[in-house]
Amino acid sequence: MMGELEVEKHVQFILSVEKKKDDFESVAMEHIRINGAYWGLTTLALLGKLGVVDQDEVVSWIMKCQDESGGFGGNIGHDPHILYTLSAVQVLALYDKLDVLDIDKVSSYVSGLQNEDGSFSGDIWGEVDTRFSYIAICCLSILGRLEKLNVQKAVDYIVSCKNMDGGFGCTPGGESHSGQIFCCVAALAITGSLHHIDKDLLGWWLCERQVKSGGLNGRPEKLPDVCYSWWVLSSLIIIDRVHWIDKEKLASFILNCQDKENGGISDRPEDAVDVFHTFFGVAGLSLLEYPGVKAIDPAYALPVDVVDRIFIGRR
């Protein structure tokens, strides 16, 4: 029996996280607040409640997170990093405020992080991970500046991270992991390079992530977690194999991860909730076409109407 999505409770939960800047958890997350803003605001947008947060306050705070390099930090006063730069761009896209950006400046920051071998570093300190490949490609695509990257090399690097099971890891030889797979698959989708993927092989690996409870895990023999409802599901949708999992059982699993009293969604039933899992749970339900939740784009991880606005307007 399908449970119900407690929309109002989740909205209140997200607003309370935004307001509670003084409790220890918020203070400890201070340096990644911009990620939190993306998770919280995109969830509100999917539930049709973006209007409950003051747009101008958010936009002006986001711009204060930008550093002279053009990149964004996790909060005001923090060093720039590709992770937070994408979140900033995504939040501005939600509000249709990409025009407040100096697009060339942000694009140069991101394209400057591409390495000789086509990979991307997260920032000047050089950590390389296919997550950053996705971020760079997604970010520049939204900004309409994908051509600033060496797209072919970027694609080649991602393909070099493909494993024998059809999945992808963080670097060549890295274990296939659903989160990394999402990043690689979405990046290949955005760059029109899905032909590099063996969809049947990967689709099978991905559908094997579903366990008896209906939830999805990230790797063989690991526990299910609501966030994989996004990463596995969006990957399956992009490669057109989502019918290979039991969608109803997955939806039930996600709904069972709700805190029906206080709002919010956790990684698995009965655990503590947080904004991160709330977003991925709602996003997963969106991909499952749960009634009342707006459609989300599986590659850009933004509401479809926002993505349409970005791209259709451009043509």
């Binding site: 201070e30 996790g74 300190w125 030889g173 992991h177 063989p220």
Partner: protein, 331 residues
Amino acid sequence: MSSDEDERIPLPERPEWADVKPIPQDDGSNPVVPIAYKEEFRETMDYFRAVYASDERSPRSLGLTVEAIKLNPGNYTVWHFRRLVLEKLGSDLHDELDFVNSIAKSNSKNYQIWHHRRWVAERIGIEAASLELEFTKEIFSLDAKNYHAWSHRQWVLQALGGWENELDYCDELLEEDIFNNSAWNQRYFVVTRSPLLGGLESMREAEVKYVVKAILSNPGNESPWRYLRGLYKGDTHALIHNPEVSSVCLEVLKEKKNCVFPLSLLLDLLCYGLQPNEEFSNVVEALRPSNSGPPEVNLKKTICSVLETLDPLRSNYWIWRKNNLLPSSEV
């Protein structure tokens, strides 16, 4: 500087910090009822912001980053600044590894710590190889699937060396937990990339024996089945011509338990051109539910039908497989 929380002297009371004006977080919030640990956190970060803003790369800044990191190891700006200070001061990087050791175990999924370790190890060079391999082992003793640690270990092997005992180490981990997918992945990494070994094809025979043993000990374990397929990546001809492969499927199927993986591999073998025989047909027949109709003429179709009932979560996948079988004339 006190690092014992009970005896911590607030920064404004420390004479060596008297000349510094702390900078509060610029998001307008102030605690209504400050609680001790929040005050400590806020104060430490206010002083950090001050030295960061003035770019003071001094020993006292270095010490302050330790306090800030202990309070919040995820704060990447603090780590960045610490690196700048370490470079400026020319600090001993072996001591730095010790420092990271001291906080890493309780923060083993923290990206910043792993990246910092890599930065330090890169600077130390080849000497760091054994230290890093030892360190990741310690992390694996707490969490043998820690993705960051595996990524770090792979980097160490490729950048600094130390491949000699890696296959044995994988073996050790698999002895402890045959279900450890990370260890299986590492084994594949070593077999395919180690400069000390002869490459996949030369290692294949021994690895097949290894993985068959693992499969028979736990036929419901996804990882070794995938590993077996991986050993023949790009060479389905060799795969179908190694009798050990179809044998292990049959052996597991005869037990009538954990049938999904062997059936799926058998299906693939048949699709790659393995000739079916009576033994295969009989063992699959024995798995058909008693209420199903007459047996299908095509063994591959039968296998798909059986898998639909044995693996209902993925019934759509097995139906798709059935509908996408190439026409064949086998019985």
